[in-house]
């Protein structure tokens, strides 16, 4: 049941992505409305699918990589819809939904995310917080990409499609800053809980686990960006480049969790 629902939801996301991209290029209001409708419908189906899955499993759907990724996509789409409305950023979907779609196609055969030794409420909190953090950073990435595109339009003085469809630089810079400011604490708390777990469960904080190591690197990149921003010296283009680097490392992290053997994998 949940599998069917999930498949339909993913088809919905595919449609929403196509419509959002078409809107970006065509700037037809109708396309935007259809994209929003498709996004909302797919997200509702996704919600039901996740609930059904939780009932079936009798636990939060966070214990395998595909499960966790699916929840992350759910949070990403929720944030996308909220920020789009809140900031009137009608093109946001075109930059966020493709990422969400790539994520949700990651339904590799179920591999357990957590070792057999681990369980308990704190573990769910660790995973849940890290996922919310990652979701916010997906939006951070989208904001950075939009910033760089618009910045390029204004700098090269060629007013093409993006000049017309993307919002102002100041708006995009604020978006990347805020998503980082929200995502980072979640990521940090999630990581700290993870480290504590590592200490108690694996016996050492610094064991070799690809996912953990890679996520420390991602954390460091984001920490540096945030510190630079707060100090006032990093902003605009530089902050956007770092947002993209941080996101790339984050993707490596997820890749490590999906494909490399380690303590996060079964």
């Amino acid at each position: 049941m949940h599998q069917t629902l999930l498949t339909v939801a993913i088809i919905g996301y595919v449609a929403a992505t196509g419509l959002a991209l078409a809107y970006l290029v065509q700037r037809e209001e109708l396309l935007h409305r259809l994209a929003s409708l498709a996004t909302l419908t797919a997200w509702v189906l996704h919600t039901v699918a996740l609930l059904a899955l939780s009932f079936d499993l009798g636990r939060p759907p966070l214990a395998s990589m595909p499960e966790a990724v699916s929840v992350a996509v759910w949070v990403v789409v929720l944030l996308e819809m909220w920020i789009e409305r809140r900031y009137g950023l009608s093109v946001l979907g075109a930059f966020v939904l493709p990422v969400a779609l790539v994520f949700s196609l990651q339904s590799t055969p179920t591999r357990s995310l957590i070792g057999p030794t681990l369980s308990g409420a704190w573990l769910w909190v660790h995973i849940g917080l890290a996922l919310v953090g990652i979701a916010a950073l997906v939006l951070n990435f989208a904001g950075a990409v939009m910033y760089l595109l618009q910045e390029r339009q204004l700098r090269t003085k060629r007013t093409g499609t993006f000049y017309y469809s993307l919002p102002a630089l100041a708006t995009l810079d604020r978006l990347t800053y805020r998503t980082l400011a929200v995502g980072f604490p979640f990521l940090t708390t999630g990581l700290i809980l993870g480290v504590l777990w590592a200490g108690t469960a694996w016996g050492s904080v610094f064991t070799f686990d690809p996912l953990a190591l890679s996520s420390y690197v991602a954390w460091a990149v984001y920490a540096a960006t945030l510190a630079g921003r707060a100090a006032g010296s990093w902003h605009g283009r530089r902050a956007a480049y770092f947002a993209i680097v941080g996101f790339a490392v984050l993707m490596l992290t997820l890749g490590a969790g999906l494909f490399l053997p380690g303590k996060h994998g079964g």
Binding site: T159, A168, A170
Partner: protein, 422 residues
Amino acid sequence: MPLFVAGLSHRNAPVELREQLAVDEGKLRELLGDISGAGVVREAIILSTCNRVEVYAVADVPGEARAALFRQLCRHRGIETAPVEAILYTHANGEAVRHAFRVASSLDSMMIGEPQILGQVKDAFALAQSCETVGPALHTLFTQAFAVAKKVRTETEIARHAVSVSFAAVELAKKIFAGLDGKAVLLVGAGKMSELAARHLVEHGAFPIYVTNRTWARAQEMARALAGTAVPFDELATAMAAVDIVITSTGAAEPVITREMVQRIIHARRGRPLFFIDIAVPRNVEDSVDSLDDVYCYDIDDLKQVVDANIRERGREAHKAEALVDREVAKFLARLGDVEVIPTIVSLRERLEAIRSGEVKRTLARLPAATPETREAIEAMSTAIVNKILHAPITKLRESSRAGSSRSWLELVHELFGLGRK
């Protein structure tokens, strides 16, 4: 429906001819009075702007009416009829409807999307109304044209992007800063165009305004005009460090703002973008300035390029607008048929209603004992009878007008029901 529009515009007539033919309000009144008095047309509206002179009219013999109208017009303006006749365009019925919609929506304007034309069409309509040359057909057509124009404006971006250099500067500033509220502006040098750009920025919330000039008196004068503050010319760099937008327009032969100057202030700005609008020729801002981080520099050619792109953008939006107009024309034509028969339908209804209510009144007067229920039942029954009788003739009238053969049917209905002369 014998509706037509005939005239000339910037598309087919040189400006010399257009200005010869353009008519002012007083003459328009006279002209409208003449043509309706002569009985050439049943309805008429004359639209006269610097880009077009057009007559929208309903006449039994359109060709004859058109010739008579323009003969009158030329006589009023004291010019030969033949050369005007030779270039006139004429659109009839559906095409006339489309033309009216396109003109009101600014799709036929020299600058697509310009806002004045709708006001001019509204004025022409009001003038014709006061001369009593607007009948049901033109009334319906023009009210619908206003609605279509509004729809085009809100549903497409035809009028959204700036098509003048000074507005393009404002648009760019908004793409950098989002809102302009509280953004400080520095004017370097005085000039009409920079003053205009500064005014547009102020209208969008920019504040405060600083003005500097090599001539101190000129700086003070300009500062007064813009409700700003004059700054001595040797404090240019300091002032630049504090503002967000710099408009330069001095007559200097060498750049007034060098890369070195900007580089020195950039650190203290902590990432706040700085936008140079360089209207001067030769340019006042050194070429290499705009490769600095968070600095955007647009010279006059760049601004013109933005304007050109915006004009192309309007053209793109115009395609959407044309499609919208097409749909509206189709919708309107389905209704327009009714326009001609509506007065007859109304008087037919009024006639039968008068008979019905008169008879009901008489009947009820003879039935003093009737209960409210009985009275109501009699009212309801008589109304139902009238509606049933009317159904067939009204449907037939509507159908015939859509098929374009309403005239004989209208006469027949008038004769049969004794509605008086149409």
